[in-house]
């Protein structure tokens, strides 16, 4: 089973999205 390589930092994700020319997939979840 593949594991998703989640980031938990939006700004870090945004930087990577811009640098790597990939879209950011932002998942707002509710714990519990």
């Amino acid at each position: 089973m593949s594991t998703i390589q989640w980031l938990d930092d939006y700004q870090e994700g945004l930087k990577r999205a811009d640098k790597e020319k990939r879209p950011l997939f932002l998942d707002f979840f509710k714990d519990g």
């Binding site: 994700g13 990939r22 950011l24 998942d27 509710k30 714990d31």
Partner: protein, 145 residues
């Protein structure tokens, strides 16, 4: 959310930068994206433009399809029309029974037209849409030609 699925995981890892945030701790970020309900999935460019938005649960097969739709919209927003068309066509080819397939065919036509400036490319895609997915919102929208 629908994550214990290889197809979804591989697509996210390969084609996206996946970020997960607890909505109750997200504060301004949740306000920025008007996130009131979960699941709440946002596809965002590096320039912070939201190009696709999904609210509510989807089964794995639908989410896997919709990720290709979101990629297509991402490429459209960056004016990479050939890449957009390819993403949309991948959805139609691999997920033809998906609820997202009609929209994908619609935007295939849009992307091909924006790339070629040839209205015949648009007509061809939209005629195929009307045959393959009649009585859908996207078939109706394409009926303008």
């Amino acid at each position: 959310m629908t994550y214990p699925d290889n197809q979804v995981a591989e697509c996210l890892n390969t084609h996206f930068i996946p970020v997960q945030v607890d909505i109750e701790k997200a504060g301004k970020l949740a306000a920025q994206y008007q996130a009131l309900w979960t699941p709440n999935l946002n596809v965002i460019s590096g320039r912070e433009e939201r190009v696709y938005h999904i609210i509510g649960w989807l089964p794995p097969s639908e989410l896997a399809a919709v990720l290709h739709l979101a990629r297509g919209h991402y490429f459209l927003s960056r004016k990479k029309f050939d890449e957009a068309a390819s993403a949309f066509e991948t959805l139609t080819d691999r997920f033809s029974r998906s609820l997202a397939a009609p929209e994908s065919m619609y935007y295939t036509g849009v992307a091909r037209y924006l790339s070629s400036h040839d209205v015949e490319d648009l007509k061809k895609a939209w005629q195929a849409l009307q045959v393959r997915y009649p009585n859908t919102e996207w078939s109706l929208k394409s009926d303008v030609l």
